[in-house]
């Protein structure tokens, strides 16, 4: 490969590093310490890398670690410590638990259970798919649920018609029901998405706020329940399915599931351990930490022999853990070096002419910014980079820190527009049944609706809770 083509492929590395070098060499702006300037340079370079992905994202996390040490922002040991925390344990444990659950092949039974309740009507099946995907995803994460439910959707489509062109809209509504159901629910509980763990880490490390599993659910779950009917309705209205009655597909599915036989002892054990873990999360995790609780669950799985280490090794996305470790480390450093505060002040100054100072309007502005960022990068790094800023803005303007944190996390899941930003959409897109334009067609409406619902909850329900 010639140098020119290497340069072309890796141009964003060069551009990013150049921007970094320029930032390091210009005079330090008022209000920022020299060390803060170094941190700001790193944040901006990392930001460029997260968006353009010139190297794989876990590589960017490694870059953050190396730069933090080389720029003298922290001692090597401190860098390592900032990468691993209870929250990262929690992310790791949750991914492992999800892997163990997926291995049990419960998907066919779940599918059958859904259609048993809903009957053969498409609209009701959609509602069932959205609800079940949401329920599952709120505990084990959107990635896992969309991967698990994809075959359910595809087989419903294939059993209806083998000619894809005759069931275009049906494919869209069924697959997007699963994807969007999973996406809205990732924020339901702390274990629903790794970005939730980032926010928990920021609250704890930066502002000494402890948030329990159950109190998180109390605050965030109503949004999911509210969104489920809206999502179903708007999907159905945006793409009217060609076939309204899926009885033949359901019949074929029933036959297939009958071949499976009864649930095995192993499946029951897995479900039992999972429920015990969730129960521990809700009750005793305030004392021993969410991460440690998750690890207890994983240990129980290994002791019971329902999952082999090889399964965990192959099916846990270890890169994700690194990415989130890197994002949290960067966030902690932003706060410690004063960059977060400086950026927050600049943001408030910038918002001043619009009259946005605190409360709901400020939260709305945060939400819009988060949605924009989450649409161009993935949600994890978005929360990682924006979290310290939004929390600082909130603390400077006297807005509730909890509300600001929740708005950031929840808005980062409103990425219905693009197929790139969310893993759930990516998996559906990878099935070959959808076009990129399909995501846009339904996506903008859902983004708008979700945004308004969030503001409603924020102004109504949360103030009732005294957030």
């Amino acid at each position: 490969m010639s140098f020119a083509s290497w340069l072309k492929k890796r141009k964003w590395i060069v551009i990013g590093l150049l921007v970094g070098a320029i930032l390091l060499s210009i005079p330090v702006p008022a209000g920022l310490t020299p060390i803060g300037m170094k941190a700001l340079a790193l944040v901006i370079v990392a930001f460029i890398f997260f968006i353009t992905e010139p190297i794989p994202l876990p590589g960017v996390a490694l870059f953050i670690a190396v730069s933090e040490a080389l720029l003298g922002l922290a001692k090597p040991t401190a860098v390592a410590q900032s990468f691993m925390s209870d929250s990262v344990f929690f992310i790791m444990g949750s991914l492992m638990i999800a892997t163990a659950l997926v291995k049990q092949n419960l998907d066919k039974r779940i599918a059958l259970a859904i259609v048993r309740v809903t009957g053969p009507c498409v609209d009701r099946i959609m509602l069932g798919l959205v609800s079940v995907s949401a329920l599952l995803a709120s505990f084990i994460g959107e990635h896992t649920v969309s991967a698990m439910m994809l075959p359910v959707g595809v087989s419903l489509i294939r059993f209806t018609s083998t000619d894809q062109r005759k069931v275009k809209n049906l494919s869209i509504v069924i697959l997007l029901s699963i994807a969007y159901g999973a996406m809205i629910a990732g924020i339901g509980t702390p274990s629903g998405g790794a970005r939730n763990a980032i926010m928990l880490a920021y609250w704890r490390e930066l502002f000494d706020i402890e948030m329990g599993y159950f109190s998180w659910m109390k605050i965030a779950y109503p949004i999911i329940l509210l969104e489920i009917p809206f999502i179903t309705y708007f999907l159905y209205r945006s793409f009217t399915p060609e076939v309204k009655d899926l009885s033949p597909a359901i019949e074929s599915m029933r036959l297939q599931v009958q071949e499976e036989g009864r649930m095995t002892q192993q499946s029951w054990t897995t479900i039992g351990i999972f429920l015990v873990t969730v129960l521990m999360w809700m009750t005793i995790s305030d004392k021993i930490g969410l991460g440690i609780t998750a690890l207890i669950g994983v240990l129980l799985f290994l002791v019971a022999g329902v999952v082999r280490w090889e399964d965990l090794n192959n099916n846990v996305s270890w890169g994700t853990i690194l990415i989130y470790g890197g994002a949290i480390s960067l966030g902690i450093m932003m706060k410690r070096t004063g960059v977060a505060e400086w950026l927050s002040l600049s943001l408030l100054e910038w918002l001043e002419p619009t009259g946005i100072k605190s409360g709901i309007p400020l939260l709305a502005a945060m939400s819009v910014i988060t949605i924009v960022f989450a649409s161009i990068m993935t949600s994890g790094p978005t929360v990682g980079l924006l979290g310290p800023i939004t929390l600082n803005v909130a603390s400077l303007s006297g807005t509730s820190l909890m509300a600001a944190g929740f708005v950031t996390v929840i808005s980062s899941s409103f990425v219905y527009l693009t197929a790139v930003a969310s893993p759930a959409c990516n998996i559906m897109y990878g099935s070959g049944y959808l076009k990129r334009s399909d995501f846009v067609k339904a996506g903008w409406k859902l983004t708008l609706i979700s945004f308004l619902l969030l503001l409603l909850i924020c102004g109504g329900y949360w103030s009732l809770l005294g957030l």
């Binding site: 490969m1 010639s2 083509s5 072309k8 492929k9 794989p56 994202l57 997926v102 092949n105 998907d107 066919k108 990635h143 896992t144 969309s146 991967a147 698990m148 994809l150 075959p151 595809v154 087989s155 294939r158 083998t162 894809q164 062109r165 297939q256 099916n315 846990v316 996305s317 890169g319 994700t320 990415i323 993935t378 790139v420 893993p423 990516n426 998996i427 897109y429 990878g430 099935s431 070959g432 049944y433």
Partner: protein
């Protein structure tokens, strides 16, 4: 001869496969059908793999396999392949990792080699890579006809393949079974070879042949007539009958006008200029872009070119 066809499961792609299948059968050519799946982002690889494993457990084909299965059906219909006797599941007959693709290999009725290949990555890169690896002589890419707004968005794949391929490319826009051949000559050696190739195909398919020569100005009409005669003579020696036509005007417009949507335009890749050896000349490019007709861009096979010219 070896023919590579590309499918993305759309109707226009399948019309092209039908045409290509007939051509391959009549010319006894080896055939490859390739479908390129979008690439997997490294960050979701683990989940996508889980999803695929699950699809396997549900006895569902991987995405893309059914496009190839449909292509197989079409090739069977035109009489190139036989339906396989075994009723084993399709995806199980696909072997993984042959030359960087998942492959199903069949034999045609007259001993032709028929391969169905599933690749993953950037569409243009993968098609070119497939053509290079298999040493194909002709790539058939389909292109949505011009309808409304779509003309401004689609077809870039076809255009880029036509531009960067190392062999001849047929851009099968609005292709039909009973298409006739319109051979365009500008007197260059390349155009002459293109005529011969085009005429051979026309003979195999039993299609009519017209020779078109375009003069840019009225003063050049004589030269154009001479070129058309010469072409007719060459074809005559091959025993192929052709009518000749001479037009005056801008070449690309006149060709599009003459072909309308019922003729396959055959032309050399780079006109008479030898400078633009590696890129398409402006006339073929315009005909591809603005014409309603299928276009066969003839190229003498050149050595392997670096694919790095492409942006990834």
């Amino acid at each position: 001869m070896k023919v590579l066809m590309c499918t993305d499961g759309e109707e226009y792609a399948e019309a092209a496969i039908q045409f290509g299948g007939r051509l391959a059968k009549e010319m006894n050519a080896d055939v490859g059908v390739v479908h390129v799946r979008p690439p997997i982002a490294p960050s979701t690889r683990v989940q996508l793999m889980t999803a695929r494993k699950k699809l396997g457990e549900w006895d569902l084909d991987l995405p893309g396999v059914d496009y190839l299965a449909r292509a197989n059906k079409i090739l069977t219909k035109v009489g190139l392949t036989k339906v396989r006797a075994s009723k084993g599941r399709r995806s199980h007959t696909f072997r993984k990792g042959v030359d960087g693709a998942t492959e199903l290999q069949l034999e045609g009725i007259h001993g032709e080699n028929v391969r169905f290949r599933l690749r993953e990555g950037n569409v243009v890169d993968e098609i070119l890579e497939e053509a290079n690896r298999g040493n194909y002589d002709l790539i058939i890419v389909s292109s949505r006809g011009h309808k409304g707004l779509s003309r401004y968005f689609v077809g870039s794949t076809a255009l880029r393949v036509a531009d960067l391929a190392a062999c001849s490319v047929l851009i099968a826009k609005n292709i039909r079974e009973d298409d006739n051949f319109l051979l365009c000559t500008d007197g260059s050696p390349l155009a002459e070879k293109a005529e011969i190739k085009g005429a051979e195909m026309a003979r195999a398919l039993g299609a009519k042949v017209t020779i078109l020569s375009v003069a840019e100005e009225e003063t050049g009409r004589k030269g154009a007539v001479r070129m058309a005669r010469r072409a007719e003579m060459i074809l005559g020696q091959m025993g192929i009958e052709a009518t000749q036509k001479v037009r005056v005007g801008r070449p690309s417009e006149e060709i599009i006008d003459e072909a309308l949507d019922h003729d396959i335009v055959v032309m050399g890749a780079s006109g008479s200029s030898t400078v633009k050896k590696f890129f398409l000349g402006s006339v073929p490019l315009k005909v591809i872009e603005y014409g309603e007709c299928p276009v066969l861009i003839f190229r003498e096979k050149r050595g392997k070119i670096s694919l790095d010219i492409n942006t990834a």
